[in-house]
Amino acid sequence: MDSTTVTVEIPGALKVIFDALEKQFGDRLLGNDFFRGELTFTVAPEDFVEVATFCRDEPSLAFERLDCLVGNHFPGRRAAPFEVTAHLTSVSHTTRLRLKVTLAEGQKMPTAIAVWPSANWDERETWEMYGIEFEGHPNLVRLLTTEDFEGFPLRKDFPLRGTVGGRIRTDLKGKM
């Protein structure tokens, strides 16, 4: 899934998106991919919010909605093992687009809450599962796991079984 340049023919509706993004951002798009009728663009973390805002506001694109924002971990890739993928949906054009950002360990990513408020929980989940920090997020705390959970459970080196975190807090006895 390394980002490569598209060689296959892109169908009409997606071609519009492809052209518009290429025209607006040109070299700042780090790569693109076309697989099973889905268009993917890779962007740099610092460009992400700008590209997202353009995608939302440009009338020919009109991606009103962020379908989901997902983290991923590739331990094999030394330089940038983390990936954040945003799935954009245009309700008016019934098109979809995937924006991808690759991140090194500890590298921060800007938050997309200003563009789509629904990114809030998605980002919290991505942070708690992968340890990817989102700069400017108002409330980056654990969402699904308990507050005393240690580690980032969806990283590939996190074991499937075990008792990390989520224990019964005996130290709080009498204080609750």
Partner: protein, 431 residues
């Protein structure tokens, strides 16, 4: 692709079951109404804090809403989820694509077939499996039955949230007919595990089509009965009209999908917009209402149940013959009847169990219209038998995030009503 914009100039449709055609508000009017509600929380006042959930009698599942109240008016809501988190996505990375199907049942346990279906559609897109026509029709029927059973359950619980207890039980009574159909079809009433990669696990049993036909003939009569009981009831109207307004703009910003979105005047339905299964071969209407409040969500769901009945009727009429599982040795777990007789099928069986299906490298995102909204499945494959990453963008997760902004300025009595009208299932939220 149908016109799926917020189209205020849309011609007035005939409300087949509503007595009078309500005036259609514009987006600005809706916003003004919402602002009027929000106004009530202006100013800095002393509040008391109550925790609705996880043990509150009418919070659905284990959702927690810590509510700050000024008198009875909700000032702020802090949501809390995660009490039902089971790490489904981590489990997926440690199971083959076949093994994960029963786990999807446990996401939205009210409509588990829809969850199976969404997952299988995504896998099939990734693998490029062609689903045979009969399987597509069976899936459509099962999915629509699932939608009806989900909406009936929703209706009962929702009206009970307003205090009419009888409704809950009569809705459960009628849901039983659909659960019986599922039990006959796949052997389970709730956790169906019926969908398979490339088709469905079992063919329709004898008599099933006949029984199903009877149920979809009979259900609309029951729906009419429900409407007689509640639809024009003055108390329900007072409690539901104009409450919990969430405009189309808000819906998009908070990724609210499904009936709440359609009640805001957006004719967005993935069954029409990105057809899957046999939805492009049946004729149905997308239920749309325009007031974006609790009452219109009720109307949308009532209409959807009627449409579902008609979809099932059409599918039963046009049910094609043929296989109900794709004949594709590389991707499909073979049927038991072939495994017992055919050596090649047995080899295929062993390979699929011990090694898993052959999956190309790549990533797909596939969304389908489950009863509660749009469920997206994002699969990243590295070519192995297990997914490298599987993400389930379930509707309730985003709905649970959006409801606190609907509560603002409403009264505590309406909190449960609004929450119910969105239809959140916590298995779906917490994953």
């Amino acid at each position: 692709m149908s016109g799926s914009t917020h189209d205020t100039a849309h011609p007035q449709q005939d409300h087949a079951h509503g007595a009078a055609v309500k005036p259609r508000p514009t987006l600005e009017e809706l916003k003004a109404r919402k602002a009027r509600t929000r106004q009530r929380v202006a100013g800095d006042r002393e509040t008391i804090t109550v925790s609705m959930g996880p043990q509150h009698p009418s919070m659905h599942g284990v959702y927690q809403a810590v509510v700050d109240l000024d008198g009875e008016i909700v000032v702020r809501t802090r949501p809390g989820i995660g009490n039902l988190h089971r790490g489904v996505e981590k489990l997926a990375e440690h199971r083959t694509y076949h093994q994960f199907i029963p786990v999807t049942d446990r996401l939205d346990y009210i409509s588990s077939f829809a969850m199976n279906h969404g997952y299988c559609e995504a896998i099939e897109k990734l693998m490029g499996v062609e689903v045979p026509a009969r399987a597509r029709y069976i899936r459509t029927i099962a999915h629509e039955l699932c939608r009806i059973s989900n909406h009936i359950l929703w209706l009962g619980v929702h009206i009970m949230d307003f205090g009419a207890q009888t409704f809950f039980l009569i809705c459960f009574r009628d849901r039983e007919y659909i659960l019986d159909l599922f039990e006959m079809l796949c052997g389970a009433r709730l956790t169906h595990s019926y969908c398979r990669i490339g088709g469905v696990s079992k063919d329709l049993p004898d008599e099933w089509a006949h029984r199903c036909g009877q149920v979809v003939e009979f259900l609309p009569k029951r729906l009419a009965e429900y409407e007689r009981l509640i639809k024009s009831n003055r108390i329900f109207l007072k409690r539901a009209v104009g409450i919990g307004i969430f405009t189309a703009e808000d819906c998009h910003a908070w990724r609210v999908t499904g009936p709440p979105l359609r009640s805001a005047g957006v004719a967005r339905d993935l069954r029409k917009d990105e057809p899957y299964a046999a939805y492009d071969e049946v004729d149905f209407e997308v239920a749309v209402e325009y007031n974006a409040d609790v009452y219109d969500r009720f109307l949308v769901r009532m209409k959807e149940m009627r449409e579902s009945c008609s979809i099932i009727r059409q599918c039963l009429q046009n049910m094609p013959d043929g296989p109900y599982l794709a004949d594709d040795a590389a991707h499909v777990l073979p049927l038991k009847k072939y495994v017992l007789r055919d050596a090649a099928a047995m080899v295929q069986d062993f390979v699929h169990v011990f090694k898993g299906p052959q999956v190309p490298k790549g990533e797909v995102y596939r969304a389908i219209e489950v009863p509660k909204g749009e469920m997206g499945v994002y699969i990243v494959s590295d070519g192995g038998p297990k997914p490298q990453r599987l993400h389930l963008a379930t509707p309730s997760f985003y709905h649970g995030q959006a409801v606190p902004s609907m509560f603002e300025g409403e009264m505590i009595a309406d909190v449960v009503g609004i929450f119910g009208s969105i239809d959140v299932v916590l298995g779906d939220t917490d994953r």
